[in-house]
């Protein structure tokens, strides 16, 4: 993902490492510091794969390199941008695994586990709601927060379903 973020910035115009760092941090709402190591490692990999290249090297002796995207890099970026995303990873639910193991181990009392999980989700939801309100003027950050909120709302509904199904399972066994 990070590599495509950098390719995207290079597609607009050539950048050196510090510019990239600043542009990414700005897009992230100033909430996170990107380290240079991550940027230079990624640039090195892009260069090795022929997706980006050094355009010029400053002659101030500090070796500040300016990078630009190559034609192959642009093709790679565009193919990635146009490829629809398939949801798989986000269906994984670590709490369901715990519920299954709890059942297999014969521990029972799924309700207590569900109640604890609901509390954790509600606390997260409270934080995200505050975040979405605070960053309402930053479109991408607030979209990120709103997306997480919708996921959590679905997770909370799903916990109700877990409660309903497991209650009848526990009472019938």
């Amino acid at each position: 993902m990070f590599a495509y973020t950098i390719l995207g910035l290079l597609a607009r115009q050539p950048h050196h490492g510090y510019d990239l760092k600043r542009a990414i941090e700005q897009a992230l709402g100033g909430s996170r510091e990107i380290n240079f190591g991550q940027i230079y490692t990624t640039l090195g990999r892009l260069e090795r794969d022929g997706l980006a290249e050094v355009q010029s090297e400053a002659d101030d002796g500090r070796g500040k390199k300016t990078y630009r995207i190559t034609a192959a890099g642009r093709r790679e970026l565009e193919a990635w941008l146009d490829q629809p995303v398939v949801k798989n990873e986000s269906f994984k639910d670590a709490f369901l695994v715990k519920l299954i193991v709890r059942h297999l181990a014969g521990y029972g009392d799924a309700l207590a586990a569900i109640t604890r999980q609901r509390q954790a989700y509600l606390k997260q939801l409270r934080g995200l709601t505050a975040l979405a309100a605070e960053k309402a003027d930053q479109p991408f950050v607030s979209l990120l927060a709103e997306g997480a909120i919708l996921h959590l709302q679905a997770d909370l509904r799903w916990l109700d379903l877990c409660d309903e199904r497991l209650e009848s399972l526990e009472s019938s066994s």
Partner: protein, 247 residues
């Protein structure tokens, strides 16, 4: 802290075409003065029936509802009406504003019914309009307001007689998420700044996350209870989100 309202094994049974439906099946809860409580559950979970009993608008079939220690079942209809007018504010999902009265009049009429003198009515209505951010809309009729503005009028009206308890049925039900957030922040401010007790029922977990305490209802019973006091550091929340997103 003192308990403002309490239920003890309360039930509500409705008769429908010769069949009986038990909407509330033995709920015991206690709400402290100054608390913000959300009762959350899917439709049919009994949350609205419970809220109507808490607001002295409906009687329990069995069990007790105590307001400031007083059993509501022992009150006559007149006493219940007085209690509702003086100590309980109710915000309906459908707002229930008077269509021919403007915003100012919709708020003021609640005080007239409560016997508040004219000068004080003017003062308090002005304060309430400022609190809900509708000073500029005072002379508008409800039909010229947006959904969020109507809900604000409904909240101001419910607060008109300075009730100790404010009840709201799906306060964000008819609003988009941004407008709903404004309403929830208003309710939280009512609770934290003015020390009023707020109870909302909702099927919206986002709304529920504003409360200090969340009660989860299913099939007329409490299935879970969660405390949520304190605010999270939004900077940290964003950091964690981005950590995942960027991998």
């Amino acid at each position: 802290m003192s308990t403002i309202i309490e239920t003890r094994n309360v039930h509500r049974v409705f008769g429908l075409n010769g069949m009986t439906v038990e909407a509330v099946r033995g709920i015991s809860l206690a709400v402290q003065a100054g608390e913000f409580v959300a009762i959350v559950g899917p439709s049919g979970s009994g949350k609205s029936s419970l809220l109507h009993m808490l607001g002295a608008m409906d009687r329990a079939s069995q069990g007790e509802v105590l307001f400031e220690g007083q059993d509501l079942a022992r009150l006559g209809d007149g006493q219940r009406t007085d209690l509702r007018a003086s100590k309980i504010g109710f915000v309906f999902q459908t707002f229930n504003l008077m269509p021919t009265l403007n915003v100012y009049e919709n708020i003021e009429i609640a005080m007239r019914l409560g016997g508040v003198p004219r000068r004080e009515r003017r003062q308090r209505t002005g304060d309430l309009l400022a609190k809900v951010g509708l000073t500029q809309r005072a002379r508008h009729l409800p039909r010229h307001l947006s959904g969020g503005e109507r809900q604000r009028v409904a909240i101001a009206r419910a607060l008109a007689n300075r009730p100790r308890l404010l009840l709201a049925d799906e306060p964000t039900g008819n609003l988009d998420s941004r407008t709903g957030t404004g309403i929830l922040e208003l309710l939280r401010a009512v609770c934290s700044q003015d020390g009023q007790t707020v109870i909302i029922v909702t099927h919206d977990f986002r709304a529920a996350s504003y409360a200090d305490r969340v009660l989860v209802l299913r099939d007329g019973r409490i299935r879970g209870e969660t405390r949520l006091q304190g605010d999270l550091d939004t900077h940290q929340v964003l950091g964690q989100l981005l950590e995942l997103e960027l991998g």
